[in-house]
């Protein structure tokens, strides 16, 4: 594809890409930046664009850019100093503090909590935490990228640990993890 053809493509699909970015990242400036990043990434990988599916292909790149942005924003917010999670600093390297909390649970209670999780967390958690699959195997079974499954497992552990803390503090027992 020539630069002129790509320029026409940018003109044609910029509203679509911006809409996808803005629906996933509400901040206008960030959505605009992600739109530009999407097209630059598209230019680098233009040979892989399936003919006739430009719309879906660009929307997929935009979703990936938004995912990366939201993931790092979430990690920054969750791991801010003062978070209760960081108080569990006795955990050995590579051992998530939330896992400590979950390991202290009885098997029956843990099973109940995992099966009460909503999707997209229930299936990978069941496979990894109850059926002892690795994250890579679970990703294959779920049909999801391994990195996505790892991120979902990490968030699910945090949710479960938070749910347990809420229970211990005398809060009501919820059937599902609330967002």
């Amino acid at each position: 594809m020539t630069t002129m053809e790509f320029s026409a493509m940018v003109q044609k699909y910029q509203a679509l890409v911006y809409t996808v970015c803005h629906q996933l990242v509400p901040d206008e400036g960030e959505a605009q930046d992600l739109t530009q990043e999407t097209f630059l990434a598209a230019w680098r990988a233009i040979d892989r664009c399936p003919p006739g599916f430009e719309k879906q292909w660009l929307a997929r790149i935009a979703a990936n850019k938004a995912k990366d942005y939201l993931r790092s924003a979430w990690v920054r917010r969750v791991n801010t100093p003062g978070d209760q999670v960081l108080a569990l600093d006795a955990a050995p390297p590579g051992y998530e503090p939330e896992q400590q909390v979950l390991d202290a649970l009885g098997e029956e209670e843990l099973t109940g909590m995992i099966l009460a999780l909503r999707e997209p967390y229930r299936t990978p958690c069941r496979l990894v935490m109850l059926e002892q699959y690795t994250a890579a195997q679970a990703a294959k079974l779920c049909g999801r990228p391994e990195k996505t499954v790892s991120a979902q497992l990490s968030r699910a552990r945090k949710m479960l640990a938070q749910q347990l803390r809420t229970q211990q503090e005398g809060g009501r027992v919820h059937g599902t993890v609330s967002r």
Binding site: Q14, A15, Y18, V25, Q32, W43, K67, T123, T148
Partner: protein, 178 residues
């Protein structure tokens, strides 16, 4: 409101919540993760993004994107040659516009300024306490004081182009070379 069905794909109400911007931060992250790999949901989602559902970006992305692409293309194809060409064009422009000569004249004047000529050498130490004499100026210049200025093209102290370039490349001493 459930965003995902048991099979892991979007519910209808989840998809419409995404389109209407009703999802919270966690919901948007989960939706982005799902759209990044699920072809079925991507097809459903893009099918709903019809012309009337699209938003207009605050400013066009085309000029910024194409500008960045052009710069990267230049860097990858031309490399250092491009930088050298730009430098040559700049030098030629400066020469043609006369700003190079102005720059050199400015540099010549600044060497006569007190701050430039007063260095703490033995010679200046010996003169401490004596009346100040403006003896740093060339004698020839003092003789010309009060006389009409003649802007003759063949003045001996006028800089040539070669002097100016030497001065730029090798410092102020180079232009005094014969």
């Amino acid at each position: 409101m459930e965003l995902f069905r048991d099979d892991g794909c979007f519910t209808e109400e989840g998809l419409h919540a995404l389109l209407s911007g009703q999802l919270d931060e966690m919901g948007r992250l989960e939706a982005a993760e799902h759209l990044a790999y699920c072809d079925r949901c991507m097809d459903r989602y893009t099918a709903l993004l019809t012309a009337d559902a699209l938003e207009t970006p605050p400013r066009s992305a085309r000029s910024a994107v194409m500008g960045t692409i052009w710069v990267r293309l230049m860097q990858s194809t031309l490399g250092r040659g491009a930088v050298a060409a730009v430098a040559a064009v700049l030098a030629l422009t400066m020469w043609r516009s006369g700003s190079l000569m102005q720059l050199m004249q400015h540099r010549q004047l600044t060497t006569w300024l007190p701050s430039a000529s007063q260095s703490q050498t033995e010679e200046t130490d010996q003169r401490l306490g004596k009346p100040v004499e403006d003896d740093d100026r060339p004698v020839k210049e003092n003789e010309n004081l009060g006389k009409p200025v003649e802007d003759t093209p063949h003045r001996k102290d006028k800089l040539t182009m070669a002097d100016a370039v030497n001065g730029l490349l090798f410092g102020s001493d180079a232009r005094r070379l014969p």
